[in-house]
């Protein structure tokens, strides 16, 4: 396996591209092959991921054109039985209002990637937040999420800079929502965070259409 740090540090995009290519070839004959196929539909998956103390809270929600299918969302806390504690699980439940807790193993990760499929994923600060999840995926399944990605943070910053070149860049989702006047309640929670980033994406994409 190619070392993560060796390629990521200087040329992140080239590294991940090469790695994705190699993983696609490696899993070409496995049941996961379809995840590496290019996606041709019009859906996206908004993803948010919080990890502390061996517990990862994940919320994934489908975005179909202008609809956010919150009723069919995939929300769970993945708890690593080795290092995670009951206190950490509880903290996640309270903090991110995640009701279901699953053990962090192949089955639960598989159900997550089955949910995501080969659809593109989007999220706020996607790379940073996904890092712990990716790490676990690699450990248990041997590959990271191969999907195309949209980092809403970058979109936001690009549009903000275009409008106000002097504006200070903020890394808070709540600030971004306020900035574009997107209504959302409590982006602190896992599902709301994913929903809010999806709404922000819809809003920004609309702006993009208008600019073009």
């Amino acid at each position: 396996m190619i070392s993560r740090h060796a390629l990521d540090a200087p040329l992140g995009w080239l590294g991940s591209m090469l790695r994705r290519g190699s993983e696609r070839r490696r899993y070409a004959a496995s049941p996961y092959a379809w995840l590496f196929q290019p996606y041709l539909g019009n859906e996206l998956v908004a993803l948010s991921c919080f990890a502390h103390h061996g517990v990862i809270s994940v919320a994934a929600v489908t975005l179909r054109q202008h609809q956010i299918l919150t009723s069919g969302a995939w929300v769970a806390a993945l708890s690593n039985t080795a290092s995670g504690s009951a206190a950490a699980e509880r903290r996640h439940q309270l903090l991110y209002s995640v009701d279901t807790t699953l053990p962090l193993n192949i089955e639960s990760l598989r159900s997550l990637i089955e949910f995501i499929g080969n659809r593109p994923i989007l999220g706020w600060q996607l790379e940073q937040r996904l890092a712990p999840l990716e790490q676990q995926l690699r450990r248990h399944l041997g590959f990271g999420l191969p999907n195309a990605r949209v980092d809403v943070t970058k979109l936001h910053q690009r549009y903000l800079r275009r409008l106000h070149p002097q504006a200070e860049q903020q890394a808070e989702l709540a600030c971004a929502l306020r900035c574009w006047q997107v209504p959302s309640a409590a982006p602190q929670r896992a599902l709301e965070d994913a929903t809010a980033s999806a709404l922000l994406y819809l809003h920004l994409r609309r702006d993009a259409d208008q600019v073009v």
Partner: protein, 609 residues
């Protein structure tokens, strides 16, 4: 799962489990400006609850200027009708960037099946929605929820029946044994009532022997109610007839008795005792004390969610009693027979819930002699002011000699007003038409009203002039039929109450209806066939809604301590502050007013005036 506010109807009709189902089943959708959310003829797939933004309901078959038929803002619900009908009749289009919660069709149908109330919400008429709102407020009532909905049957006691051949001695023994105050006597034709007072009077004053038969001393004019009536209606009739017990009759059979003390024991909150206090007041200060507590009573009634019409009845009866007591205290009994004090305007119609002003006048018999009349009348007006009735700004008070006159003088006034037909005369006719006698000899007022109907009801030209005033203020609806939303609110008195009251008054004049309350007039007009029953009910419902909105504002002003000279403002209703259901109701009610105005202008030929 989404975080959505489910405290407003129809979601407040669901229990916790239903709400959880909604939360779990809802999706979110984002619509850009001018996006079409539901197209005409498209099958309804979702119920939409707007979280942010505005949506217009359009009928694309109409020309663009009139195609807008509805407008929804944050908190409103649409799309349910499309699901129930199978497809959407109209097009829904986002007017702004818009964020909606989506409830899938399957979930909506499941909820309709599980919760009949929820289902009913989407199938109901204006009156139904109004009732719902009242009930919702009743839940918020702090004191004794459910009291006002208590029926007579829950409070009555079994009647104490004696055969007609029983004598006084037996009656006293029976009363003592059962600790009661009154008993009923069965006679062949009808039951009679005997109270302790009757027994005492019979023995001491009339000096009957103890062996007198009860049938001879019983009273046969009974005040009756049915077991299914509301308890406070029993209270209303007690107040009105000045008695302390009513007999409960079911299918011409005596089934029970309701005593005032029984009713009062239900009224554990002191505010309900106002009517008792009025009745017991022996002098002016105690009457004033009782009179000043009526706003408290109104507040309590409103908190209980009592239907406004009943509250009005209760208050009208109460105000009538206060006035007539004040009259008794200030005017010498020798004058009672040949004079009649009448209240006019809103008070005459029994629609003055809070004491906003006093409109009253005096009719004297033609042969009356009353030296010192003006002094007495000045004193009466001052007394009423003391009791909390502010002076009338138009000086329509008994202290003004113009509103005191003999029967023939009044008839002369009416003849002059009817022939001159200018604004002032028409106003005075309208005021006179609402007159209601509260004290003295009411037959004097009857003869004056007879003259009024005789002069006016057949005069088409006068009726046309008279009705025109109803169209004087425009209905606060926009060209597209939605509510106008000026910043300072819409004037509900001019826009809603006045056209209904005046229009109904005109019709009552035409049809010679003696009732003065607008609700009674509507009933009578429906009976008469002048209005169809459904429309009359709708008008009554609309009037009740407007009055209620205004009353709430007035009560708030009282609690805020707004000075009396700014009360013009209290007729204003800020549309933006209402909940979406109330807004919906208000809009529909105003549409009814608009319709009514059109009928009026058709009937009285006001199209070109």
């Amino acid at each position: 799962m989404v975080d959505v506010d489910l405290s407003q109807p129809p979601f407040s009709l669901l229990d916790a489990k239903g709400k959880e189902q909604v939360r779990h089943g809802m999706d979110l959708a984002y619509f850009d400006r001018h996006d079409i959310i539901v197209e005409t003829g498209q099958a309804g797939e979702y119920v939409y609850l707007i979280h942010k933004g505005e949506v217009a309901e359009l009928d694309p078959t109409l020309p663009a200027s009139v195609s807008r038929i509805g407008h929804y803002t944050a908190g409103d619900l649409f799309g349910a009708i499309s699901i129930l009908n199978g497809k959407s009749r109209y097009r829904f289009q986002a007017e702004q960037e818009c964020l909606c919660y989506l409830m899938p069709k399957a979930l909506f149908k499941a909820l309709c099946d599980q919760y009949p109330d929820f289902n009913q919400f989407f199938h109901q008429s204006l009156a139904h929605k109004a009732r719902l709102l009242t009930e919702k407020r009743a839940e918020g009532g702090v004191t004794m929820a459910g009291f006002m909905l208590a029926r007579v049957s829950e409070c009555m006691r079994a009647p104490l029946l004696l055969p007609s051949d029983a004598d006084i001695g037996k009656a006293v023994r029976t009363l003592n044994d059962s600790h009661a105050d009154s008993l009923l006597v069965e006679t062949a034709s009808q039951p009679g009532i005997v109270t302790k007072t009757d027994l005492l009077n019979a023995i001491v004053l009339a000096e009957h022997p103890v062996t007198t038969l009860l049938a001879d001393i019983a009273q046969y004019t009974l005040v009756t109610v049915t077991p299914n009536q509301y308890l406070f209606e029993a209270l209303v009739s007690m107040t009105r007839h000045k008695v302390t017990r009513v007999v409960v009759i079911d299918d011409a059979q005596v089934v029970g008795v309701v005593e005032l003390t029984d009713v009062l024991s239900y009224f554990s909150s002191r505010s309900y005792v106002v009517s008792l206090q009025v009745e017991q007041a022996g002098d002016l200060p105690s009457l004033a004390a009782a009179s000043h507590r009526t706003p408290e009573l109104v507040n309590a009634l409103m908190a209980q969610g009592v239907k406004l019409r009943f509250a009005m009845d209760l208050l009208a009866a109460l105000n009538g009693r206060i006035m007539s007591k004040a009259w008794e205290f200030t005017i010498d009994t020798t004058h009672h027979q040949h004079s009649c004090m009448m209240v006019m305007g809103s008070e005459g119609r029994g629609e003055q819930i809070l004491k906003t002003d006093q409109d009253n006048g005096l009719i004297l018999a033609d042969d009356a002699e009353w030296p010192g009349l003006s002094d007495d009348m000045q004193r009466l007006t001052d007394t009423l002011i003391e009791l909390g009735y502010p002076p009338c700004p138009g000086n329509i008070m008994v202290s003004n000699p113009a509103w005191v006159g003999t029967v023939s003088e009044w008839k002369g006034h009416i003849a002059r007003w009817a022939s001159s037909r200018d604004g002032d005369s028409l106003m005075k006719l309208a005021i006179m038409l609402d007159a209601h006698g509260v004290a003295g000899n009411p037959s004097l007022l009857e003869s004056v009203r007879e003259e009024l109907f005789e002069r006016c009801s057949r005069d088409e030209l006068l009726l046309s002039y008279f009705a025109r005033t109803a169209l004087r203020f425009s209905t606060p609806l926009t060209l597209f039929g939605s509510l106008k939303k000026p910043q300072h609110g819409i004037d509900i008195k001019k826009g809603g109450i006045f056209p209904i009251v005046h229009g109904v008054r005109t019709m009552a004049l035409e049809r010679r209806i003696y009732a003065t309350s607008t609700f009674d007039r509507l009933d009578a007009l429906a009976e008469d066939g002048r209005l169809n029953r459904r429309f009359a009910d709708d008008l009554g419902e609309a009037l009740a809604l407007f009055t209620e909105l205004r009353l709430r504002r007035q009560l708030q002003d009282i609690s805020d301590g707004t000075p009396a000279d700014q009360q013009e403002r209290s007729n204003r209703v800020i549309v933006q502050d209402l909940s979406s259901l109330e807004r919906d109701l208000l809009r529909e009610a105003l549409h009814i007013v608009k319709d009514f105005k059109q009928r009026l202008s058709h009937r009285y030929h006001l199209e070109y005036s």
